[in-house]
Amino acid sequence: MTDILEITDLEVTYQRSILALHGVNLRVAKGQITSLLGANGAGKSTTLRAISGFIGLDNARVNAGRVRFLGEDITGLQLPRTIHKGIVLVPERDKVFTNLTVAENLEVVATSREEGSKWQQIEEEIFVYFPRLAKLRNKPAGLLSGGERQMLAIGGALVCRPQLLLIDELSLGLAPVIVDEIIERLREVHAKTELSMLLVEQSAAVAFALASYGFVLENGKVELEGATEDLRSNQKVLDLYLGTGSTGRADYLANARRRFEERANV
């Protein structure tokens, strides 16, 4: 099985001084969905953005390490050249152009050569994946709900014809029912196109529902990796990300109280 993406010892700093990643190693297998789990500030978003390329706007820089995409070294490659290589990111926040309509949000991405009927076809394809969007076609994206925005953002990313799709916080702030729908849609897309994906998630449940392999990031380093089945039975993952601690099912207050007591005893 070939890896579409391979990251070795990646180090990233913000504002020349804040070290966000120190030595991340991860791989994404071609045609597979891989998940990246981790706590807040672990560096998940930073990892995705380092892959898809920073722009001058954020004062971030890759200091060390390599990013290889389809065997080619793309370390430090800037936007939008990474897009032309086939790496597309759905960001965590601000993921749609609120002043453009849904259709324009999709259209703005297409290259100038894709005129007329060809473009129509691309658009229809997206509407097949996300039928909800078809109805909203002429609505300014600023009026969409969170779930609709997420779908539109994924749709917009798909129009870029990615070979590797990066999604940051797929389920953040979305209702369970919407999360279900999006998972379903992504599965469809994946089934049809065998698109390789790297998903960042807080919720291990969502990650495990989609991905076949996973990495766990902690404090800017990969702490754990493995096939989803293995991760799922890993005690640490259970504790940290699934909340199925010793009591089996989450007992929020008891767990917290226990930890407070432990801390107090130290």
Binding site: S52, I55, G56, L57, D58, N59, L79, P80, I83, H84, V88, L89, P91, D94, K95, V96, F97, T98, N99, L100, E104, E107, V108, V109, A110, S112, G142, G156, A157, C160
Partner: protein, 290 residues
């Protein structure tokens, strides 16, 4: 009736200058306070071409257009590009600094004296008799024509071409635009180039119509309320804003006190903005949602 003609000419001037503000603001939220100087630089470029390269006025003007495009592009590539990612206020101040630099440089090169560009080009700025009671100068007539053409061109470009759509998208969310494969630098460079180009046209025509000296850069300031009344990111807003300001200015000069023509447009601007904080046609910027 002459008053109406005066209003139309002044509207065209302000509108042409204001379009430059709008273009740059629309894509980058940067208010280009060096626009007045860039406009005048266009006229000085005409002086330079006609003195140094060709004496044929038409070729000189065409060459000036090319040079102004080069100037716009270089301003972006050498300067404003460096400001991507900095706070908007810093970018705005950079344009102020650019203005100061350009002023100094223009005096250094072309001297502080007022130049008679029309006579240098042997362009006879004849008075054109439109009706018995209406006369305008040839250059003002050109000014009106150019403004119409520039506006039609820009509107078509922004709303019908994909690059126009990209400019709108980049203005709203640059990071996402980049993440969707839009080359921000191309978009910004395009905006600066178009803006400098239209500004230069205004500069050349104003210089042909009256004279040329660096002080005329203040016309940039006077076109300001025009761009704002309409809404800084709306092209047709700028046109209407220019109309409002020009009407006010001409009527104040004619019927009230000309000294108020500096003050009143700004007061009217405030009044309009208080009713519509984003100008008559500007996009309502996202309220703070919490």
């Amino acid at each position: 009736m002459q008053i109406v003609a005066n209003i139309i000419v002044l509207t065209s001037l302000y509108a042409l200058v204001a379009s430059g503000y709008v273009l740059v603001y629309k894509v980058s939220r940067v208010l280009n306070l060096a626009h007045g100087e860039l406009m005048i630089l266009g006229a000085y470029l005409l002086v330079a071409t006609s003195a140094g390269i060709t004496s044929d006025p038409l070729i000189a003007i065409a060459l000036t257009a090319v040079f102004s495009i080069i100037v716009g592009l270089s301003v972006y590539l050498l300067l404003m590009r460096e400001m991507t990612g900095q706070p908007v206020l810093a970018a705005v101040l950079t344009t102020v600094a650019l203005g100061i630099l350009l002023r100094g440089a223009m005096v250094l090169i072309w001297g502080p004296q007022q130049l008679n560009v029309a006579s240098m080009l042997s362009f006879e700025n004849a008075s054109v008799v439109l009706t018995d009671s209406i006369r305008v100068s040839t250059a003002s007539l050109w000014l009106v024509i150019c403004t119409v053409v520039v506006y039609l061109g820009l509107l078509a470009f922004l709303h019908m071409s994909r690059w126009g759509m990209r400019m709108r998208a980049s203005g709203q969310n640059p990071l996402l635009a980049a993440q969707r494969g839009i080359n921000l630098h191309t978009v910004y460079a395009l905006a600066w180039t178009l803006s400098t180009f239209s500004g230069s046209i205004a500069g050349v025509l104003v210089a042909l119509d009256s004279r040329l000296d660096v002080n005329m850069a203040v016309i940039g300031l006077k076109a300001f309320p025009a761009a704002l009344v309409g809404g800084l990111d709306s092209l047709h807003g700028a046109l209407i804003g220019a109309g409002v300001i020009a009407v006010l200015e001409v009527l104040l000069i004619h019927y009230v006190n000309p000294l108020l023509s500096d003050v009143v447009p700004f007061l009217v601007l405030i009044a309009i903005l208080i009713v519509r904080p984003w100008g008559l046609f500007g996009t309502k910027e996202e309220l703070n949602r919490v």
